[in-house]
Symmetry: D2
Subunit: 303 residues, 4 copies
């Protein structure tokens, strides 16, 4: 299998694709990103790296950060985190408050916004947001083996300025006793974690711990890695999670900045970025690119 | 790996398990089944068969039939079936009518009842229920390589007698133009397909086509097999699908009769049966048994 | 107060009104009705009758029949009917199935479709639909003092042909034990009761028993009359009930045929008909006409 | 009619009633109120005042304040307020966030919490909360003809401390552009308005403007009075509004402090207080007392 050739072909196809989806525009920093961007990077279990396009251009990882904060929170709290957040697909939009009401403030899973706020709240745990953010950055930098990963302060500020829906979720969960820190602090931390910027290369490297192979850095136990991958498979693409599993067949997590992290257990960590989104808020060309890759490599976990 | 020993140990543990869940009691035929039953059978890609407990006792496959009817309907209609049923987890109970209302009569996926009714409606397609049921049975018998698979008429009659919720779903979809045959006919066919009885051994053999290996009978194309497995992973256990993926890490489909069919792509087809159900309507010991098996064999698709 | 003059002025205004709403078109018989129709009739407590426009043209009373069947069912069963149907506004569309699910098959009130089906089911009570319909017709004819009131069989047949949503509601309630007769029979009876045709004059006369004055025929006890009026006030116009109370300030019940029955307690019974509907399914000009009438007469119960 | 005797009899019955409901306990100040309290006061159109029990004991008016803020906001903004809040019963609990989601941040009516927050937000309109509260108090004092009406600061503080659900509603509406002031300010103002304390006598006097008779102080136009009464009838008792209309037949507004203000148009203003609540959050004995009063006086608007 000539992975370099496969990836180059995908890069060429995506560079020329006419229908690229719509860039998120709820904050000016995301709305201004050029939809022509496309980047992809793959790190395999044997340490090889293959990439194409804008793989070295930083982008806003947004909800992909939820994978790292979940791994971090589980490492600190262990399974008691699951008393505060579920493990089921939600069947609703990423920021829906509806299910929270009928389920008494326990979010469906850690990858919808409400669940990610619980995760961040568990990491915050009474400390200053600055400290929690330092810890999150240290985890990601260690995973990527790269200290040049930072928060974009303008993005964080814009998230804050338009963050009422997340503040509503946080206050709602606090009313149910499922938010331990003041909502403004937890949301502030969350807005900053979403504003972390990484390149495809950095993100693919940071995802190596989810491959679960023996030679990769073991930030997380093999059993927990399996479970993180299971959650990414069933819940990683909001209300398009079933579609991603159906088309791609890999655990993955998307962000509204147009990035996707996908894992081939025991085999590869894949990062892809294209800013245009589909109707479910997932990268349109990013999804297509991983689908092409899996088709060419046979990497689906279902075959 | 000594699979026979692993399976025997699991059989022994499950036979002695004190907490066995509650047997479904909405029809007398299911309510009368002894919760002490436990059976498991595994067919591997190389043709080996391992089993334990009541692996040769027939049980009501119930919703596991949805996997076979979906494969059959896709084989006949191809992807146009997806215009009538979605591919996303529902986040609600298996027989919920709520989402149907907000989504205009298009069920979330083919494994909730509404979606399975659409699938059966597509197979029925104006023919007599008897013919459609004959086709369904032929498909399952061919998959299992065993003609001794039958419908239990008493179960089918009881399903019919208590089938108002499914009739409500069918009429509701018909009101939205998504039920082509009279609801009584489609539901009648569906009640009979749910009343098919199989043993664990028959079911594990019937699941071979979902392994996707080259030596297994190819009832369905490799791409479709991947997609069926993806749907089983994200939607196969009703509102406990996330939990099954989290604990077990295999595509699977459960039935309210206490059976589970789980697939290890390229490697094995697993059938397990224990009549007691958990709060989501999935076999309690069946789930635990497959979890034990995956732990011992490393068969999770996520590692 | 010159009621004749007031009513004539309203008739003239409505005859010339350019925006008349949209005629219901889910069955051909309703869709073919000329939207130019407008009729109004008022019977006062002292027996005077005033009318204008097409007050002698029969129209399909549709959901207005629910008032009469409710009075009839309460007369037969008394308050035990309230164990099967609630008394609260629903906040949802007239044919919504959503609330039924979260409230275990007990409809919110007798004026949404599900609640009206329970009422009809209570009248049916094991008898043949023909007998139940005879009883309903006798009640209405007695209230109107007019035997020339009939069911339009073509309308009834069309209702039946498009009745899947009501059949879904009925099967759903039967699954919850709240439908005693076979859904096909209860729905069949209901479709026929909705197909009763009356003129504005007949309907205004039939509503006299809801005025509650001492000189009117006492089909129903004064306390029950108050309660029927309360239900008409809070629930009589589907999801536009609040709006009707706000604008008009009278208990009323609308039908998708464009009729409205409104009651001025102790004072008058009002029937109005104009086939064009607003977005909530209530007669657009009919509502406006009653609003004009109340403004001119000071008949609001809130002043 | 001997109103004094009727009221005295009701007072005696309520004082001895064994089943008094449960006092609200979400804040200590309400939880500590003695459920033995019962008070009732009536002011008639001719200026007579009749009262019984603890009619001179101040209690927390809570949601009854919503009637006064709505009158005040309508007086200032006129009908443009209705672009931000609806006029339909909600069919859901007073503090539900569910409907807000499907209806894009527009609350169903001004008497559920979300709608009352919009009303208060409209009064606040960029001013300091202290000024808005001054205006609200001035309105109520003018209506009551009594300057000895105050905010209980301990109650206001407790509301604030447990106000996360209201803050969630406010942030949610702000995310939809339907909250003009910072949620903390609007909610702070709202928590203080709910903490206003009045006696039954003061409240009955303050309700005179809703009687709509010509001799009463005209704070509000007759048409607006009719509309306020209509809203109180259809929406004034949360998810028990239909029940209050059914049993009592008067426009009314309840508060979680156990107070109810009910209006007999053209005839009387009624205030009742008993701290124990029914399952819908409305005063249990208060409702019963007004029901008794209406039965004895024939004051239902529906007769």
């Amino acid at each position: 299998m000539d992975l370099a050739r496969i990836v180059a072909d995908i890069g060429a196809e995506m560079a020329a694709a006419p229908d690229r989806g719509a860039v998120a525009d709820y904050i000016p920093e995301l709305g201004a990103v050029d939809p022509a961007h496309f980047g992809m990077a793959i790190v395999t279990a044997d340490g090889a790296e293959v990439h194409t396009g804008d793989a070295a251009t930083p982008f806003s990882i947004q909800s992909i950060s939820k994978v790292f904060t979940l791994a971090l929170a589980l490492g600190r709290l262990g399974d008691q985190l699951w008393a505060r957040v579920g493990r089921e697909p939600s069947g609703l939009a990423f920021n829906s408050i509806l299910q929270l009401e009928s389920e008494h403030g326990i979010p469906r899973n850690p990858f919808i916004n409400a669940g990610a706020l619980v995760t961040t709240d568990a990491i915050l745990a009474g400390h200053a947001p600055r400290e929690a953010l330092g810890e999150i950055l240290r985890f990601i930098r260690a995973a990527a083996g790269d200290d040049d990963i930072h928060i974009n302060p303008a993005v964080a500020q814009s998230e804050q300025d338009t963050g009422d829906r997340n503040l509503a979720l946080a206050h709602f969960m606090r009313a149910h006793g499922n938010m331990k820190n003041p909502p403004a602090l937890t949301c502030g931390t969350y807005f900053h974690q979403c504003a972390i910027e990484m390149t495809c290369l950095q993100l693919a490297r940071a995802g190596r711990f989810l491959m679960g192979g023996t030679d990769t850095p073991t930030l997380v136990s093999p059993e927990r890695v399996r479970r993180l991958n299971a959650l990414m498979m069933t819940c990683g693409h909001y209300n398009g999670s079933g579609e991603f599993a159906f088309r791609v067949g890999l655990p993955g997590k998307s962000g509204v900045g147009g990035g996707i992290l996908a894992i081939v257990p025991g085999c590869a960590s894949i990062a892809v970025w294209s800013p245009g989104l589909d109707q479910n808020g997932n990268s349109q060309l990013g999804t297509l690119a991983v689908e092409r890759l899996v088709h060419a490599t046979g990497w689906s976990v279902f075959s």
